[in-house]
């Protein structure tokens, strides 16, 4: 890893097309991720992003920060929905590193992941081989 590694917040845009693409790529066709009718019927505020898509963006942020270091652990709780409107703009998911520590050749990165003003993941954390 280079000495000039920085942890600038990483921003990702999610539109409905991105949810459809992720559904196809991942095989998760739960209709709450593409049907307003079904999302509303189960009490959601709208179509929501797959939690695993949001965690995938976290993985991408880590790759960007570490130059693709080997991920040993990655995890989070899905605490708030990322509601994706049916428009051209979509929503922005921002992944920020809040604490980085190194020990025994491993680097642990604690993060904060937000969409609009809300934290959407609980305790997102990764450990990579430094």
């Amino acid at each position: 890893m280079s000495a000039e590694t920085t942890f600038e917040p990483q921003r990702f845009i999610l539109t409905r097309a991105d949810l459809v693409r992720y559904a196809g790529a991942s095989g998760d066709f739960n209709p709450i991720h593409w049907s307003d009718r079904v999302a509303g019927a189960v009490g959601l505020p709208g179509v929501i992003a797959h939690g695993m898509l949001t965690l995938g963006l976290v993985g991408s942020a880590i790759a960007a920060w570490t130059g693709g270091a080997e991920v040993v652990e990655l995890g989070a709780k899905f605490t708030a929905p990322v509601v994706v409107p049916d428009d051209e703009t979509g929503v922005v998911v921002e992944v920020a590193a809040t604490k980085v520590s190194s020990d025994n050749g491993l680097m642990t990165i604690a993060m904060e992941v937000r969409c609009a003003d809300a934290k959407v993941l609980g305790m997102p954390k990764a450990t990579v081989r430094a």
């Binding site: 991105d18 790529a25 189960v42 695993m52 995938g56 993985g59 991408s60 991920v71 995890g75």
Partner: protein, 133 residues
């Protein structure tokens, strides 16, 4: 949901051959900014394992919310790997009328060596009186 599902091991899914094309498709879908295989890639197998489990216990997909996901790797996944995922239910508790199901999936390679252990919490809401299992 029937408490008897706890500690039950479900039939493994796979083998799933990791191809460069599938990795590229998944990388694009997760806006991957790195090289190699994205760390959330095994969700492909886990989705199959979870779908089989949910169908087995009669839980409709739209009533399921993914509550938590963790991956712990023994080694990185590479193109050419042949992976199998075996899911077992580790815990079941009731929370505000919902079933909170803790699952552990072990992902192994063609030699049987563990590549990754994945823990998922699935929240099954709107459970019916008679239960789904």
């Amino acid at each position: 949901m029937d408490p008897a599902i706890v500690d039950r091991a479900f039939a493994p899914v796979g083998p799933f051959v990791v191809t460069a094309a599938k990795v590229a498709e998944f990388a694009r879908a997760t806006q991957w900014r790195g090289a190699g295989v994205p760390p959330t890639f095994p969700i492909l197998l886990l989705n199959d394992a979870m779908l089989a489990f949910l169908a087995d216990v009669g839980a409709p997909l739209e009533r399921i919310v993914h509550g938590e996901q963790r991956f712990a790797y023994q080694r990185p996944i590479t193109v050419g790997d042949e992976l199998t995922a075996a899911l077992r239910v580790a815990s079941l508790r009731s929370l505000g009328g919902a079933d909170v199901i803790g699952t552990v999936s072990t992902i192994t390679d063609a030699s049987g060596a563990i590549v990754c252990e994945a823990k998922a919490t699935l929240v099954h809401s709107g459970a019916t009186e008679e239960g789904a299992a």
